[in-house]
Each structure stands twice: as structure tokens, then as C-alpha cells.
């Protein structure tokens, strides 16, 4: 279980909040952390357990597969994963008056004086703005229309990826295990077992959330979808301030959940110009769903 990627592929790793960690004893170093799709048919059943918590206003679903899945160590590891996510919520929530991000928004705290994790996220937001040609931005108009620091669009995926990476290190001590974390529909998986089926990720139909349009088998990597179905229109185009139009949803498969999330948002914002842009991203795949229901898969 080593979701840590090369620096270029996963800027979320190796930030001030994380330290380089050698692979666990039972985990051969993965050649890369690029997404691995497809694979063997069902070979054997491993014990499995799901954990659910509500954090950052999102349901966090954590699944672990392997011999210790139903044991106390995995339950502890799951609790630690959720604790890490709650800690990030304390730092980043725009709804909590006392969070560092709220203080930055009010002008009570300078970014340069903020917690290293906040500064790390701010740097990633800037990188995201550049990589998406401005389609993703952490500077969005507040209630008064003035641009204010709001890294929410990146934090969810980043925090989940960080917590998941730490979980992988804990699980590695227990021998080969597979894990999956869904943060409100953005999913990251890793497998260190070789006798398990791929995780099957269903991509929902944005027109009917009770339906799935297709499945993506995944052993390592992340999938994020951006669209309007769940929360109504909550995404704004940083360039125009208006809700984007042109796609019902955009799903990105990436080595990194942070970037899957950012790129899915950017693709959704870009709408009609998403496809040519997405094809310029190496090691990424995408599924765009158009208003007439047609599916467009890339590359």
C-alpha cells in the first residue's frame, strides 16, 4: 500500500505535513503510483470491513480488505484516518469561525503565518490554478464579491489522500491489505494484495443518481467526479463568476486524488473545451457526460 507517488505526479506527498516514509515490511515498493486499471477476475474472498464517518460535511466511507480487516488494529487505523481528516477540517473549514482559513479570510491571519499544512495547500492551489489554465482557483468571490481565499475545492481531495497514505503505512504493518476511501464520492484506492479483485468504482448517472453509467476497475489511483447532481449548482467559473454550462459531469482517473479532484472540477468548468485540455494530461483518463447523455471517454 504505497500511494506515495513521484513528486511530479503527486505534489501532495512530501509536503511539510508529511515525511518520507519507507515502504512497510510487507509492501514491496510500487514502481510508480500511477493508476492501475483492470486485472484478474475474482480469485478469493478476503475479510472486509467498511467504516463510515461524517467529516467536512461529507460522508467518508473507508473499506479495508485483508486478513486483519475485521480486527481491532484495522479499526484503530480507520479511527486514526478519520481523526486526521477531522484535524484538517479544523484547519480549513470556511464554516468554522476559528479555523485558520476563516481567519485568513477575515484578515486576522496572514497566509505566511499560517499552519504549514495551510501554506502547503495554498501552494498547491496556485499550482492547480496554473495547471488548469485558471479553471481552478482558490480565490473566489465572497459574499461581498471580493476575492477571498477558499481552498475548499482542493482540500477535500488532498486531505483524503493524505489520510489515505497514512492509512496505507499503518495497514502495511499488518501485512498485505487493500483499502478504499470515498470522500463524498471522490475515491482513492490501493491494493497490496494480489489475490483480490479490482475495486469496482461505479460512475453515477448525473441525470439519475440511482443509476450507474459505467464501472471503472481500479487497483491503485483515484477517481473524482465533478458535477451538479448532488448539491445543486455550487461550482463557479473563476473567470466569469457564473456557473459553468456544457457538461453534466466530468470524471477524472488520476494517480492522485488531489489532482483527480482538481482536474475534474476544472474539466467541468471548462465544459466544451475540457476534452482537448484533458488529453494533454499524461497518465490521466477522463469520462465526460454531455447534456444529451452521451459519454465521452479520454484518452
Amino acid at each position: 500500500m504505497s500511494p506515495a507517488a513521484s513528486p511530479a505526479a503527486n505534489p501532495a506527498a512530501g509536503g511539510p505535513g508529511s515525511s518520507p516514509v519507507p515502504p512497510g515490511p510487507a509492501t514491496p515498493p510500487a514502481p510508480t503510483a500511477l493508476p492501475r486499471l483492470g486485472g484478474p477476475a475474482r480469485l478469493g474472498e478476503q475479510p472486509r470491513r467498511a467504516f463510515v464517518a461524517q467529516i467536512m460535511g461529507l460522508p467518508m466511507s473507508l473499506h479495508v480488505r485483508g486478513p486483519a480487516a475485521r480486527g481491532p488494529e484495522v479499526a484503530e487505523a480507520a479511527e486514526a484516518t478519520f481523526a486526521a481528516l477531522r484535524a484538517d477540517h479544523e484547519l480549513f473549514s470556511t464554516y468554522r469561525e476559528s479555523s485558520q482559513v476563516s481567519r485568513i479570510r477575515r484578515g486576522d491571519l496572514r497566509l505566511s503565518d499560517a499552519h504549514p499544512r495551510v501554506r502547503r495547500v495554498a501552494a498547491l492551489c496556485e499550482q492547480a490554478r496554473q495547471r488548469t489554465g485558471g479553471a481552478f482557483s482558490a480565490w473566489l468571490p465572497d459574499a461581498t464579491g471580493a476575492p477571498a481565499f477558499d481552498p475548499t475545492g482542493l482540500v477535500k481531495g488532498w486531505a483524503a489522500e493524505q489520510a489515505f497514505t497514512a492509512l496505507g503505512r499503518r495497514l502495511a504493518r499488518l501485512g498485505p491489505h487493500d483499502a478504499l476511501l470515498s470522500a463524498g464520492g471522490d475515491v482513492i484506492v490501493a491494493c497490496t494484495r494480489t489475490d483480490t479483485p479490482d475495486w469496482q468504482i461505479g460512475i453515477e448517472d448525473p441525470r439519475d443518481r440511482s443509476r450507474l453509467l459505467l464501472t471503472v476497475p481500479l487497483r491503485r489511483g483515484a477517481i473524482a467526479t465533478s458535477g451538479t447532481a448532488a448539491r445543486g449548482q455550487h461550482i463557479r467559473d473563476p473567470a466569469t463568476g457564473s456557473p459553468p454550462a456544457g457538461l453534466l459531469s466530468a470524471t477524472v482517473v488520476s494517480p492522485s486524488l488531489t489532482w483527480a479532484d482538481v482536474y475534474a472540477t476544472a474539466a467541468y468548468v471548462r465544459g466544451p473545451t475540457a476534452a482537448p485540455w484533458l488529453t494533454t494530461l499524461p497518465n490521466h483518463a477522463a469520462i465526460l457526460i454531455h447534456p444529451d447523455g452521451t459519454l465521452h471517454t479520454l484518452p
Binding site: 492501475r36 483492470g38 470515498s182 479490482d198 453515477e204 450507474l212 459505467l214 476497475p217
Partner: protein, 169 residues
């Protein structure tokens, strides 16, 4: 039409490469799950009908060539091994070798990769989601997670994810 053909072709190379990735890293014999080997290229209906790899007669499938079972761990019985022509992709030339049994690919290996990069990276550069629309309704019980527009805590209880989680708690 030509664009679609090219898309399908590169998709096949992708699938083949992906499968070979599995064979090269897993200690298990290659089990290139024929059930998941359905892929599609571009938009909706037309492309989703291209059930690519299992049909060795498709022009975009590597053409039949030398037969040998060497390097094909899953080959058994009547399996035939086919070496395709080198195909130019936007990542560089790719040449693949597949083992076909009962019209399905049971093993695959890439014997020529785009140059200049690490092999695993190249393989993964072809990380094409494998669409499985035909079986989705029937197999929704096997889904592990749902990716969609963000669900909120309040919406969770009615979500498919919640049903999946409940079965495993």
C-alpha cells in the same frame, strides 16, 4: 470513422498493455479478466459497441503472426499466441503479443514500448477506463464505491454508497 478506428486501436493497445502490466507484476498467472475487457473510445452508442480485444479478426487487433506459448503464463490447451504489427501511437510505437483462447484474450505482453521512458510509466499512460456498461445493472451488487457529484452528509443515507457500506460494516 478513421478517428474512431484509431481511437479503438489505441484503446486496444492500452488494454493489452494494462494486462501485461498485471502479468509482469503479479505472481499470479495472468488473468486478464475477459469480463472486463470491454472498452469504448469516443462518444456514446457507436463506440460502446466495440467489444475490442476478444475478436482477433478485427482490423485493429494485432494480426495473427508467429505462434508460440513462451512468455504467456496463462496459455494452455488450444491457446494461440499472436504477435501484432508495431502500431504507431501518440506515445510512440507499441507492439503487443496476445494469447487468445476461445475468442478471448487470456494473456498479453507488450514486446515493444515507446522509447525514452520507464516501462511502467508508459504502460500506465494508457490508463483507459474500461467501460462495462452492459453488465452494470446486473452487477451493481459488486460495486465498491460510487463516484459522482459530491454527496453531502444529509444525502448519504439515501445514496448507493450507503447501501454498499452497510453490507460491509
Amino acid at each position: 470513422m478513421r478517428r474512431i478506428a484509431i481511437a479503438v486501436l489505441s484503446t486496444i493497445s492500452a488494454l493489452v498493455l494494462l494486462f501485461s502490466y498485471h502479468t509482469s507484476t503479479n505472481s499470479q498467472p495472468a488473468a486478464a479478466g475477459p469480463g472486463t475487457a470491454r472498452s469504448a473510445g469516443t462518444a456514446g452508442g457507436a463506440a460502446s459497441t466495440t467489444s475490442a480485444p476478444p475478436d482477433p479478426t478485427t482490423s485493429s487487433t494485432p494480426a495473427a503472426g508467429s505462434t508460440s506459448s513462451a512468455g504467456s503464463p496463462a496459455a494452455a490447451g488450444t491457446a494461440g499466441t499472436y504477435t501484432g504489427d508495431a502500431v504507431a501511437t501518440r506515445w510512440g510505437p507499441v507492439q503487443v503479443e496476445i494469447t487468445v483462447q476461445d475468442g478471448k484474450i487470456t494473456a498479453a505482453a507488450a514486446i515493444q514500448y515507446p522509447q525514452g521512458n520507464h516501462r511502467d510509466e508508459e504502460i500506465n499512460a494508457y490508463a483507459v477506463p474500461m467501460l462495462n456498461q452492459e453488465t452494470i445493472q446486473a452487477q451493481s451488487a459488486d460495486i465498491d464505491a460510487v463516484s459522482g457529484a459530491t454527496i453531502t452528509s444529509s444525502g448519504y443515507i439515501e445514496s448507493l454508497q450507503s447501501a454498499i457500506d452497510k453490507a460491509q460494516l
